[in-house]
């Protein structure tokens, strides 16, 4: 695999795994409750942010 894509998948693979583990712990300990509108908004915002960074870095690697 091209070094640029290996780096990309390594970072977003491990980074997303850590991110998801944190979200799981936050849900499990009820630090956030998805039945609350406010918490739900933050939850989806965080996921959207991660996907956006991934999309920008991915597109950038692709264009170059």
């Amino acid at each position: 695999m091209d070094d640029r894509w290996f780096t990309f998948f390594y970072q977003y693979g491990i980074g997303s795994a850590i991110f998801c583990a944190l979200m799981f712990l936050l849900l499990k300990t009820k630090a956030i409750k998805l039945k609350r509108t406010y918490d739900r908004r933050i939850f989806y915002l965080l996921i959207a942010g991660l996907v956006s960074f991934m999309f920008i870095h991915g597109t950038w690697s692709l264009i170059v």
Partner: protein, 631 residues
């Protein structure tokens, strides 16, 4: 001449504004946390000035010229760890009114762990102040050395004439650093965090605007965007450097050292950053601030600090610029492409980056000394006493930082030792902090030994880098400096897990940890808001602009609203509300929190506040107020 005028005007503006806003700082809460009243955009913008450190323009431009656009990587990899800060650590610290990181460790564990963390953080912070001041000296030397006018402004010539010291001291390095330290100390002494936030707001705007402008001017200078883009080698256009090479700036090293461990240490454990987010008017605003910083401002800041290096690469490759070392690329490119006057703004932007990091570090060290040493040693004194001590201590720390400049400059081994120390302190602290908030059963003994063994393992790895090799993921290096933090985190995590499984002491199990772990954040919020559970489940509401009346005779207490406004806000008597001047652009400078008293029976658009609230909120007569649910 024009450049010198710009720099002088800049100094006057920053110190003038910093000292002026000092009048809003009346208590220790104002001094350390800006009265916990600032809007998200003000907190966020001022954060950028702090995040763009004294070394940033020089270091990231150097990375830019050497490795291209991957210089942005460290500024765009904080999102992975963001959930832990905004959904757990910030609410825990904010709702529990915790004033410092060590204080959390005493509440969560015991005094021994707190004392240990105090020592670690103080050596880290004071050492970091010295390192920053030395970096300021080095950065300013490259600007001042060849410019007689700037040498005069900074007083270098006076010192050179008065004391030659046999060439022992480099006045070009020392004097500008001292001048910047004194000016930062001056406005910090006047207004603490309030002055820091307002001046950092201005400095944040300046360094972003100037940094981005220089990059745009540079691209125009080399012949426009298409020339710029086609002139860069492919490797220089990629968002990440090579996976495990170069050893000094590999993608895997940046990911672990900066994106994972660095993000937690910077946002959660760095007392200066923590104080910045605690100065937000609510947890909600603190969350908005950090999202604003990480999603929007940091990518722009990455271009502002590293972009000159990309332009420099083209200029060097085409022979338009010759540089002896990649370290000087920022200054040399700026000198080449900027007209007189514009270059003055570049110098001002570098100074802005230097001052805004320095003032935050001094405020953070002063907060730890006052809250973790002076308060426990002299309990029960009036707030004015601690405020006086805070101001004195900030000056003493500034003076001590100045003393460290020639020491670090002359004795490189001390500088290196401290650099190693700062790298050794953070990974164990990051692990202990995360395990403390994740697991209720993590014991004091576990925290203590995780800190000791984690730091010892890191120290050992400095002398035996081979220890780091198994996790170096192919990086070929003699020191494995970038992967050391991952090594420290793994060792610390193993120790913490062993204690978590095999050693649960009775004291920790029986201790009341309400509000101090992720499991009980709602309880902390209820306690903070005054006890009304209803407000926790509601979205934050804000009232319309309301006229107000000050109760000069103290017949009323705190703040009174009409029944219908209270209902709209979702608050009850005894709840905490936030009162602010309706003008949003003040960013909360005229505002305060207060406990809600019984409803009044006057018109709905009327608020009644006590004289004490009027003074505390710095309100002006004849303006309108908005009331917000504090949760």
């Amino acid at each position: 001449m024009l450049d010198a005028i710009v720099v002088l005007l800049y100094f006057t503006l920053i110190v003038g504004v910093g000292v002026w806003v000092g009048k809003f700082s009346k208590t220790t809460s104002d001094f350390f946390f800006g009265g916990r009243r600032f809007s998200w955009w003000l907190v966020g913008m001022s954060c950028v000035a702090t995040l763009v450190g004294s070394y940033s323009f020089i270091q990231y431009s150097q990375l830019g010229v050497n490795y291209g656009m991957s210089s942005m990587a460290a500024y765009t990899n904080d999102w992975y760890m963001l959930p832990i800060f905004i959904l757990a650590w910030l609410p825990i610290i904010y709702y529990n009114n915790i004033k410092s990181v060590p204080e959390y460790f005493e509440r969560r564990f015991n005094r021994t762990v707190r004392q240990m963390v105090i020592v670690m953080l103080l050596i880290y912070l004071i050492g970091y102040i010295g390192i920053n001041l030395l970096t300021i000296g080095v950065a300013m030397k490259s600007i001042v050395a060849g410019n007689p006018l700037l040498q005069t402004i900074f007083g270098v010539r006076v010192f050179e004439k008065m004391w030659s010291m046999g060439g022992l001291l480099d006045w070009n390095l020392l004097v500008p650093a001292i001048v910047i330290a004194i000016l930062s100390g001056l406005y910090l002494h006047a207004g603490g965090q309030t002055s820091v936030i307002i001046t950092d707001l201005l400095q944040g705007f300046l360094l972003l605007a100037v940094g981005l402008s220089v990059v745009v001017i540079g691209i125009y200078y080399v012949g426009g965007f298409s020339t710029f883009w086609s002139g860069l080698p492919t490797a220089h256009k990629l968002p990440f450097s090579g996976f495990n090479e170069p050893a000094k700036y590999s993608a895997v090293g940046v990911f672990w050292a900066d994106g994972i461990i660095g993000s937690v240490s910077f946002y959660c454990i760095n007392q200066g950053m923590l104080m910045r987010f605690l100065s937000a008017r609510s947890v909600h605003d603190g969350r908005k601030a950090i999202i604003f910083v990480i999603a929007l401002l940091m990518p722009f800041a990455a271009i502002a600090v590293g972009g000159v290096g990309w332009v420099g690469k083209i200029l060097v490759d085409t022979g338009a610029l010759e540089i002896a070392s990649s370290k000087e690329v920022f200054i040399r490119v700026a000198q080449l492409i900027c007209a007189p006057g514009i270059y003055g703004f570049v110098v001002a932007a570098v100074i802005a980056a230097l001052m805004s990091t320095l003032d935050t570090l001094i405020a953070a060290a002063s907060a730890i000394v006052v809250n973790d040493i002076v308060r426990p040693a002299f309990p029960g004194k009036e707030d004015g006493y601690y405020l006086k001590q805070a101001k004195r201590i900030s000056l003493v720390i500034t003076a001590f930082g100045i003393f460290l400049i020639p020491v670090f400059d002359q004795f490189n081994s001390i500088f290196r030792a401290l650099t190693h120390f700062t790298a050794m302190v953070m990974p164990p602290l990051v692990v202990v902090t995360l395990v403390s908030i994740f697991f209720k059963k993590f014991s004091s003994r576990g925290a203590f030994w995780t800190l000791i063994i984690g730091s010892a393992a890191l120290l050992l790895s400095v002398f035996f880098p081979v220890l780091v090799k198994p996790i170096a993921q192919g990086i070929q290096s003699e020191s494995f400096s970038m992967m050391r933090s991952l090594f420290g985190a793994i060792v610390s995590a193993i120790v913490a897990m062993i204690f978590l499984i095999f050693n649960q002491d009775k004291d920790t199990l029986e201790k009341d940890l309400t509000g101090l772990t992720m499991h009980t954040i709602d309880e902390a919020a209820i306690q903070y808001s005054g006890g009304s559970a209803k407000s926790v489940d509601k979205l934050a509401f804000s009232s319309d602009a309301l006229s107000y009346e000050v109760d000069w005779k103290d017949a009323y207490k705190d703040i009174h609203l009409s029944n219908s406004v209270m209902e709209k806000l979702g608050v009850e008597t005894g709840d905490l509300v936030f009162i602010t001047d309706e003008r949003w652009w003040l960013g909360g400078l005229r505002s305060t929190h207060a406990i809600l008293s019984d409803p009044h029976d006057q018109a709905d658009n009327m608020v009644i506040i006590s004289k004490e609230i009027f003074d505390r909120g710095n309100f002006l007569p004849d303006c309108k107020l908005k009331i917000e649910n504090a949760i």
